[in-house]
Amino acid sequence: MNCIIIDDEATARAIIGQLCSNVDSLAVLEEFPNAMQAIKYLNQNEIDLIFLDIHMPDFTGFDFIETLKNPPKIILTTSDPNFAIQAFEYDCIVDYLVKPITPERFKKAIQKAEATPSKSLEASQSTSEKVESTSGNDLYVNIDRRLIKIDIPSIYLVEAKGDYIHVKTEDKNYTVHSTLKKIADKLPDDLFLKVHRSYIINVDKIIDIEDNSVLIKKDVIPVSRSNRPELMKRLNLL
């Protein structure tokens, strides 16, 4: 497998490079101290596997994955075990290595990567997308390792808060480790609208609009200037 290493720490790149050199089936083609350089490289080169650090300045490992249309297999390498749940949301991630990486654990990760054929990976991605898109009015969110079903039309507000989103529904509120962009891709465009960089609203649930804010249930939500024209287009104005 042709692979690249992306990590802003030179020590980490050296260690992963050494671990790779002990595996005959691996060839490290390049190393990158940041994700931006790797994106340029991937635009011109095909590779099978990426060793990817999560914590990098400006552009995290997850941000990087979001930029890839057809991501290769990815093994995350991090000092932070807290992102494991988020990692499960990506089909391309085959393993999650916590630093300091031991040779034994590294070998297991490579075995996992080798046992995951790229084609079936693509197939599993399209299947999972289909399930989500054909499941009609339901959205499944991963909370504490449980997949919880949410009725999409009952969602009236989604708010981004750091690495989490708050999903508010008629009956209950949920806090999910995800991004606004990810949930936006799963919500129907005709019902939901991003009105601010931190908020998506259900247009059907608007009570009133005043200047640069909307009232939904008891929440007053800011509407950014750039999103206001699209909001106004959606309204059946008299």
């Binding site: 802003d8 720490e9 030179a10 020590t11 050296a14 260690i15 050494q18 002990n22 000092s79 300091p100």
Partner: protein, 105 residues
Amino acid sequence: MEKPNMSYIQSMSGGDNAFEQKLITIIKAEFPEEKKVYYNNLEAKNYKLTAENVHKLKHKISILGLEKSYETAVAFENNLLEGSTTLQDEFESILTIMTNYLQQL
């Protein structure tokens, strides 16, 4: 207080002395830079960035086999994310021990 050691580096190298030397050279070059950024961000009271610096330094703490110190660094990183500098002295003692150890290599 626990002392740094070469156990992890040796387990990585599998007896490859050239790799051990290469890794030590990289750590010796990178560690002072990471420390400098850490102290600058701490002085500027930018605790979020300081926490990121501690996060990076944690890896080197673990590479040098400082298991208890690693736990202190994890706790200090969490404190910084909450705007507290509790455990700063303990963490900086770890940095001093690492600095002294690396100078001997």
